[in-house]
Symmetry: C2
Subunit: 202 residues, 2 copies
Amino acid sequence: MSSSGKIAGPVQALINEFTKLPTVGPKTAARLVFHLLNRPRHEAQALAEAILGVKDKVRFCSTCFSLTELDPCDICSDERRDTHCICVVAEAKDIYAIERSDAFNGRYHVLGGLISPMDGIGIEQLRVKELIARIGAECPSEIILATNPNAEGEATALYLSRLLHSLSVTVTRLAYGLPIGADLDYADEVTLAKAVEGRQRL
Amino acid sequence: MSSSGKIAGPVQALINEFTKLPTVGPKTAARLVFHLLNRPRHEAQALAEAILGVKDKVRFCSTCFSLTELDPCDICSDERRDTHCICVVAEAKDIYAIERSDAFNGRYHVLGGLISPMDGIGIEQLRVKELIARIGAECPSEIILATNPNAEGEATALYLSRLLHSLSVTVTRLAYGLPIGADLDYADEVTLAKAVEGRQRL
């Protein structure tokens, strides 16, 4: 459309870059650009520098493969954390979700993905060898499988639980059921079935 | 919360910067950061450079006060555009919305805001003097007031229509009514009232 040529070049360039981000469509991108245009330059510069900083300063923890500025990461180097329990997650961001819950005080292991034959991701692309090596070296008593409750997460958890069966470690997974604040009426049938199946004695 | 200290510094720094943008909450910000971490460095660099480019290369058009890399802007310097009609908008981004409709071939004038006593924005903060000077210099035959159909937009349009009354120029405003694809049943009563009021002969 000829009219898009009317948008100032640098404005369109930034709209294009923002649109490459997840959850950002062209309208949101334009809104972000006009916001930045209305803010002082140092704010835009702080954002630009933070973007480069995250690419240049963040690396994988050599123990748990979470993202960190210093290796080993804060969690792996924290003496107060329980070394007997390793929580296995798909991605580093899952760590932050679990940390926010304040319900876990052990350490983590980031697989770097989930088994997904459709995307050509098999077990050899995941950090499973590293997990087994850690279990051998650290001798934890429990491995919590905290993969997402979807097809890929379930497949990965099932595979790992079978693989770890031979090792002398308890393997658990996160509970499934109704989310707090939910309404039975609106719960989907699979969740409800899981909630009935996993019912707890009071 | 102590756990937030577990997020690698540069990751948290970028989450903080993203959260300053409109429509971006902490969860979306985290998602954007992890997306960038998974992309090649040159993509992150393109985004960072586009952010600085928009601050360093974009200026106001000295005629219409839209955003432009070259002054006068593409629209003001386009010989094929109708010089007899000026469309008055609150913000430069409104120009792009109208351009996308392909329904207007005149020129624009950006007020730089709307009258809003609550925010301390009076008529003297808007580019009204500049509009009157343009009307004197360019002698347009029509001024379209294309402010948003809300309290501030209406107040500004009313003020401008009275102010321009003494000049020999036709003042119009955008039509109000049902949006295309709407359902009478779901239309709010004010819109419906405007649609009845502005009904057209077939």
